[in-house]
């Protein structure tokens, strides 16, 4: 989990720095770096939540399908 959070933050930081616009905002200033970290964290939270929720739904659907198949057989017997 920590790895996912870290790598997602890293990804967004890299994307932000790769953007041409970033250069225009004086990359050396601490203000810009702290803004980039906050921005990365925000996007990591949003994308992370979407992935986690999708995973939760996929897992629950798989589990319930398995339960239904088992119950169907049991009820038919």
């Amino acid at each position: 989990m920590k790895f996912i959070v870290f790598s997602t933050s890293l990804l967004f930081s890299t994307m932000a720095m790769a953007a041409d616009d970033y250069v225009a905002v004086d990359p050396s200033s601490i203000e810009t770096i702290s803004s980039t970290i906050l921005l990365s964290v925000s996007y990591a939270i949003i994308v992370g939540l979407l992935i986690v929720y999708w995973g939760y739904m996929a897992y629950q659907t798989h589990k319930i399908r398995h339960r239904i198949s088992t119950l169907e057989r049991e009820v038919e017997l």
Partner: protein, 238 residues
């Protein structure tokens, strides 16, 4: 009895369902590309302003989900049909997901804009109240699936819907610190374009998630029904 109990393939994954995650992924991917590579940095706030492109659509989807929940709740009270209750429960959970996004990204932006993670601004406070109402609804639904809880949570959803217009007009009525960019014409054309793309992307994500959650809830209820039938069969055998 045998034929009645079959679920006619509803437990089997449909081939079209596999494309849905890809659609949601593409919507988010395009939105990210637009935000980071196709939108200029705002002059006053700098790069932190880019939170706006996901924060605003997340808030919009929270409203959309909760409005869907309210409409489905009203329909459930009128028609007393299970499908509306399933829709209400599914959309409420999605409203909570996007509510959490709004309530976490907002303070991160606020730290840079106002120097504090939280201020008791009318819009922030009313948005927090709505998120807490949604949370109460979701907790209530997890406690029990009884008829009384279904009706009570439907009423809670209708009461909570009053918060949506209140959040929207709170900036104008109480003149808080929260900016009101939408509708005021304060956005550059490139920024407006990116915001529209992100809004569309989030709407696609909402539809895909709602479909998936609705399917899960339907399957859950089918599973509960089969469990009940299974226990009746076991009792009859004894």
């Amino acid at each position: 009895m045998k034929g009645e109990n079959r679920i006619s393939g509803s437990a089997q994954p449909h081939i079209l369902n596999k494309g849905e995650p890809m659609l949601a992924l593409a919507a988010i991917g395009i939105s990210l590309w637009m935000v980071f590579f196709n939108t200029p940095v705002e002059n006053q706030m700098g790069i932190i302003q880019k939170i706006f492109y996901f924060h605003v659509p997340a808030a919009y989807v929270m409203y959309l989900s909760w409005a869907t929940c309210t409409v489905a709740s009203v329909m459930y009270i009128i028609k007393n049909t299970d499908k509306f209750d399933i829709l209400a429960r599914s959309s409420a959970e999605i409203a909570l997901l996007f509510g959490i996004m709004v309530m976490t990204t907002g303070p991160l932006w606020g730290k840079k804009a106002w120097g504090a993670y939280w201020v008791w601004d009318p819009r922030l406070t009313s948005a927090m109240v709505l998120t807490l109402i949604i949370l109460s609804y979701v907790i209530l639904r997890h406690m029990s699936g009884g008829e009384v809880i279904k009706k009570f949570s439907a009423a809670l959803s209708i009461a909570g819907a009053a918060m949506i217009p209140l959040i929207h007009i709170s900036v104008k009525i109480w003149r808080g610190q929260h900016p009101s960019v939408l509708g005021s014409g304060g956005l550059a054309p490139e920024m407006r374009q990116t915001l529209i793309v992100c809004m569309t992307g989030f709407t696609i994500v909402f539809i895909v998630f709602l479909k998936k959650r609705y399917r899960l809830e339907s399957l859950r209820r089918r599973g509960d029904e089969l469990t009940r039938l299974y226990h009746i069969n076991q009792m009859n055998k004894q």
